[in-house]
């Protein structure tokens, strides 16, 4: 079993702080991401979600970090976010057989009869569009961070051996 690779010595304060901040940052990211009434949106919320993972990876190393965000989940989220956004737009075209335009969300949603156009539309924008953007941004940033961290580790390893 290979020993855990860290740049610094194990520190209780850093470990506990990172563990405490991880779920709270995720919660704050969701709060920023979801909802049309408040400030923020998909891009900002996704970035905050990504910082939670980046903090975790920085403190506990890439190996432990990969357990929190496995490769399959990362790849899934990065394309699923775009899929959500794009699909929400296409549903409007498909459900009306081309009568409504792309992303003209009030046109097709059956709930609009019950909750009104405004409610259905805000629901779609806040959940499908914003969450779609947020997931793609989060997964992309985490994936890039992993790649850069691995490159550095590999270089350190090569330098140590040679």
């Amino acid at each position: 079993m290979t020993p855990e690779r860290r740049v610094y010595k194990r520190d209780v304060i850093i470990d506990v702080t990172a563990k405490l901040m991880f779920p709270l940052t995720l919660l704050f990211g969701l709060y920023v991401m979801i909802g049309t009434g408040g400030t923020g949106g998909g891009f900002q919320g996704g970035t905050i979600l990504a910082t939670a993972f980046i903090l975790y990876i920085t403190v506990f190393g890439t190996k432990t970090g990969r357990e929190k965000m496995p490769e399959s989940t990362n790849t899934f989220f990065s394309s699923f976010g775009l899929f959500l956004y794009n699909g929400a737009g296409w549903l409007a075209v498909l459900f009306t057989f081309g009568a409504a335009q792309w992303l003209n969300m009030s046109a097709f949603w059956p709930v609009a009869d019950y909750v009104g156009t405004a409610g259905a539309r805000s629901f779609l924008v806040s959940y499908m569009v914003s969450v779609g953007i947020g997931l793609t941004v989060m997964a992309s940033f985490v994936s890039q961070y992993f790649d850069l961290a691995w490159k550095e580790e590999d270089e350190m390893e090569e330098g140590g051996e040679g």
Binding site: T36, G37, G41, G42, F43, E71, S72, T75, F76, S78, S79, F80, G81, L82, F83, Y85, N86, G87, G89, W90, V93, Q101, W102, L103, M105, S106, G116, T117, A118, A120, R121, S122, V125, S126, V129, S130, G132, I133, T136, V137, A139, S140, F141, S143, Q144, D147, L148, W150, K151, D154
Partner: protein, 200 residues
């Protein structure tokens, strides 16, 4: 020939790619041409209608009739509310014909444009502010101006209370989706360049 086995996760990627290709084709087919008269930026908001008592003659002589001016200022578009004042010398009036194209504007009806002149406190160049058209012997006064229009009509047009969200996800929906695609493409590029084989 046997096709390679496909993972469940790849399906979402493939569908996303297909939807993007479809969107590209659809956009070319369906998007209105540049300068479309019905696009939100080119529409104007109707303020009021007034009976024509020789105002058309005054407008042709580049004078804004005092009755129209007073009525506009009564509606709240006065200097007190930080709107440009309609005093003489501040504005210019020009006649536009139906169907003419000037810059991004295509006029769908005849009328007079009220331009706020250069050197004004608010703008550095003359900007189209009001539009007066003759309809059945009455003069209808409209107002253009894109940001003002977004503030006033966002709830009616998009059904959302937040003007920023409606701008991001509704008026500029194509733009936002492109931005998201750019971020995904960047991540894929980093994966291709930096990731070593066999390390996931």
């Amino acid at each position: 020939m046997k096709l390679p086995e496909m993972k469940t996760l790849t399906i979402f990627g493939i569908i996303t790619a297909l939807l993007l290709i479809g969107l590209a084709i659809y956009t070319i087919e369906d998007l209105p041409a540049y300068g479309d008269e019905n696009s939100p930026a080119n529409k104007h908001i109707k303020l009021f209608s007034i009976e024509d008592r020789g105002y058309a003659k005054e407008l042709n002589e580049s004078i804004l009739p005092i009755e129209i001016k007073n009525k506009i200022e009564e509606l709240g578009f006065n200097k007190k509310e930080n709107y440009p004042p309609l005093d003489e010398g501040n504005y210019e009036i020009e006649w536009v014909e139906k169907g003419t194209l000037e810059g991004p504007w295509l006029y769908s009806e005849d009328g007079w444009n009220v331009l706020i002149k250069e050197g004004e406190l608010f703008y550095h160049e003359p900007i189209k502010y009001y539009f007066i058209a003759e309809v059945d012997g009455n003069l209808s006064v409209y107002r253009y101006n894109w940001p003002v229009r977004v503030m006033e009509l966002t709830e009616e047009e998009t059904g959302m209370g937040n003007a920023v969200t409606s701008g991001l996800a509704d008026y500029r929906g194509y733009d936002t989706m492109g931005e998201e695609t750019v971020i995904l493409t960047g991540a894929i590029g980093v994966i291709l360049l930096l990731r070593r084989r066999g390390k996931l």
